[in-house]
Every structure is written in C-alpha cells, then in structure tokens.
C-alpha cells in the first residue's frame, strides 16, 4: 500500500487508528505496568490467535489477491478502532437499556442486545474501509473471508488480553499468571474458534461479494451478512444453554458447541463454495 495524501479512506483509517491506539494504550498500559508478568503472559498467549489465520492465509494463497498490508490493516483496525469504539458504544447502550428497563435487566441483556450490534458493525466498517483502500485488488469472496478473519482476530487478541488482565486485577492476588492461563483456556481454546474472527469472516464474505459483483442484490447480501453475524453473536452471548441444561460440564460444553458451531459451519461452507467457484489468482508481484 502506497500512502496517498489525496485518499479520504487512507486519512480516515490513519486518524481513527491513531486516536484509538492512543486510547487503547492509555487504558491498558497502567495495568500492564502494574502486573508485568501477567501482562506479558497474556500478550504472548493471545497473540497466538493470529497464528491459525496466518496459516489460513498461506493455505488459501492461490485464491487471494489482497496483499499482506491489507490484512495487517484489517488486524490493526480490529485491535484498535473496533475495540475502543465497542467499549464506549456498548457501555453507553448498557446505560440506555438500564434507564429504560432497570439495572438488573440491562446487566443480563446488554451483552446480547448491545455488544453484538456495536462490535459487528464497527468491525464490518473496518473491512469496508480496507476494501476501499485496496479497491481493485479484491479478487473474490475468499479475500473478504480472510480479511474479515484478520480484522476479527485483531479484536479477539485485544479483547482476550483485556479479559485476562481484568481477571488478574479482579483476583487481587498479585502479579499471578494463573488467572491469565485460565482465561486463555476458556476464551482462547474453548470459545476461541467461534468468536470474533469467524463472525467477521462471514461479514467479510458478504462485503467482498458486494464489492466484486456490484449489484443491488449483492449489496443486500452484504447487509444481510452483517445482520446475520449480529444475530449469531447475540445468540453466542445469550444465557441460552449456559447452564448446560443441568447436565454438568459436558452439558455446558455441548451448549457452547451448539451455539458456536453454526458460524464455523457457515465459514467452512463459504470457503468451500468460494474455492469451487472462484478462479485462482494469477501469480504476480505482491505488495
């Protein structure tokens, strides 16, 4: 990507990412300095999220035209703008819901009604912005899936890190690594596969479909994909099946699978469909 001072999309990305990065550092750095061992462990563990997506990119390389810079930009957007906007937006929507329905109701339902809406819209906005910056480099739906996955992975890395550090702080038991590992096992291993990366991959597929087809119907497909992942995310965040129907830890695990698997299956189907229908990218120099 060459910096283009006349590109409004590049300016928007630079300004929003710069502002969000400062806010993110302001919010996370004090905790990381107060708990250096836990902070380092959380950073290393949650950075591992990026590995499967780097492997995914390598395996699909023959079908991808977007350069690495586009995926890196998506990752950084997810890690900064999407995270900080979601923090402010979700908190404010929580406040509005508490005013309308009471604090207890809002505490239970804000994660279902507010967070998925804010998070998915802002991550999808990042995908749209990157597509606009790299306009003409998009080959097909697979590009959108991988771009969306990187944007979601960026969000997931920072969110996972924040949850792990919050758990360390909330434990009030010193600079301990155990709470970080526990959060990584739950949010990273158990619930990591069907989280932000998968949701944004679906939205990315829809956006890439619209950007490459350029029809009204394709635009509706893109809007539908974003609406769809908001619903999938809301179901994932909902208290539905959280108690495992009283069947113990196996029931809880079954509940997680049942709520998370549809999104994974959709991405799996989309990747298969795109690989079958989209011609491989002609090999050429990559940025």
């Amino acid at each position: 990507m060459r910096p283009d001072p006349t590109s409004p999309a590049q300016w928007t990305a630079a300004l929003l990412i710069g502002a969000a990065a400062i806010l993110l550092l302001y919010n996370t750095l004090p905790v990381a300095l107060a708990y250096p061992r836990a902070g380092t462990a959380a950073l290393v563990l949650f950075a591992l999220f990026a590995v499967p997506f780097a492997v995914m990119r390598r395996r699909l390389a023959g079908h991808l035209a977007l350069p690495a810079a586009a995926l890196a930009l998506g990752l950084v957007w997810g890690a900064t703008v999407a995270v900080m906007t979601s923090l402010f937006g979700s908190r404010a929507l929580h406040g509005l819901l508490a005013t309308a329905h009471g604090p207890a109701w809002a505490e239970r339902w804000a994660p279902v009604l507010a967070a998925p809406l804010v998070e998915e819209v802002v991550k999808a906005a990042g995908v749209v912005l990157v597509v606009a910056i790299f306009w003409g480099r998009l080959h097909g739906v697979l590009d959108g899936i991988v771009l969306g996955a990187f944007c979601g992975a960026g969000f997931q890395i920072v969110e996972g890190y924040a949850f792990a550090m919050s758990s360390t702080v909330v434990n009030r038991a010193g600079d301990a690594v155990a709470p970080v590992v526990a959060v990584f096992l739950v949010r990273g291993v158990l619930a990591g596969l069907w989280s932000h990366a998968i949701f944004t991959a679906i939205a990315g597929a829809g956006i890439a479909y619209a950007a490459t087809r350029r029809t009204t119907r394709a635009a509706w497909v893109a809007a539908g994909s974003v609406a769809g992942v908001i619903v999938l995310h809301a179901v994932w965040n909902s208290p539905l099946l959280r108690d495992g129907l009283g069947l113990g830890s196996l029931g809880v695990l079954g509940g997680i699978m049942l709520k998370g698997l549809p999104a994974v299956l959709i991405v799996w189907w989309l990747v298969r469909w795109a690989r079958r229908t989209e011609a491989p990218v002609a090999v050429g120099p990559r940025a």
């Binding site: 906007t85 906005a125 912005l129 009030r172």
Partner: protein, 172 residues
C-alpha cells in the same frame, strides 16, 4: 468520489457509537437521587446516605459493582469473593494499580470502617484532584471502595465515610 463516500460512511458509523450514543446516554440518563435506598452487591448491602446520586447504568448487581456520586465525588464500590487475603494485602493491591495510573501519587494511609468491619486504606492525589481507596475483607468476601473528586472537602469526605459505615457484610 468512492473513497470519500466510503470514508464518510465508516467515520459516521464509528462516531455514532464512540460519541453520539454516549452523548445520548448522558442526555437521557440523568443522575437520580438514591439517598436512603438499599443496594445489594454480591452479599454486601449498603443503605445510601441522603443526597447520594447515581446513573442507572452504573449499578451492576450481578457483577457486584456500583458507582455513586456523593457531592462532586465519584465513589466506586466493587464486591467479590471468595478472597483469601486480608484487608492490608487488598489495600496494597489497590495501591499497586492506582500507582500505575498516569498522574496518580499515593499519599498517607487512612482509617476505613464499614459496619463492624475495619478496613485498610490509602489516600492519593491526581493531576485534577484527590481521592482515597478503602479495602475490607470479611468472611471471605472483599469490598473495595474508591472515592475521587476534583476537591474532596471535609464535608464530602464525612459523607463518604458515612456511606462506608453503612456497608454491611453478609446482610443480603
């Protein structure tokens, strides 16, 4: 032209959630007087002194967290358990996090007393004001109270101490 339209739409989506919705929340969720009301936070109850105010979204009973306004001071209460350390250790942990905040400097220790439970506390100053943190541990439950404001005058501090004195463990 396409780049401009996309940039405007993306910036609008971000600003909607980052600025407009928070401003709307502030506009339509004014603070309400909760003086005399009883709040339960994960096994700890508090009957608030007269004149205490709160925004509805700042009471999270299941998370054991609440934020009240006493005069111009913000008072955050966080309750959790089980906890295996004592109040002195908890106060040290609170101080560790406060100390890492930009512009915050810890000052002298202070006495803190809840309903029948003695705690440990530290004062601090910030670039824009002052505050103090109190830690209580009782029966494996811990309660943390952090008060901060532009000017913590003696009257406000007395009212916050009155709030602390009404924190009752195991009375939910």
């Amino acid at each position: 032209m396409r780049s401009l339209a996309v940039a405007a739409a993306v910036a609008a989506a971000v600003l909607l959630f980052a600025l407009a919705v928070p401003l709307l929340n502030k506009a339509v969720s004014p603070t309400v007087d909760v003086g005399g009301q009883r709040f339960t936070l994960a096994g700890v109850t508090v009957v608030l002194p007269e004149g205490t105010r709160m925004r509805p979204g700042q009471y999270r009973p299941e998370s054991g967290r609440a934020e009240f306004l006493v005069g111009d001071a913000e008072v955050d209460i966080a309750v959790a358990g089980p906890y295996g350390f004592d109040a002195e250790y908890l106060a040290g942990e609170m101080a560790r996090l406060l100390e890492a905040q930009p512009g915050v400097r810890l000052t002298e220790s202070r006495d803190c007393a809840a309903d029948g439970v003695d705690g440990a506390g530290r004062g601090f100053v910030t670039e824009t004001g002052a505050g103090f943190a109190c830690a209580f541990v009782h029966g494996g439950t811990r309660a943390e109270v952090t008060a901060r404001g532009a000017s913590l005058d003696a009257g406000t501090v007395d009212r916050i101490d009155e709030l602390l004195a009404r924190l009752a463990f195991g009375a939910a």
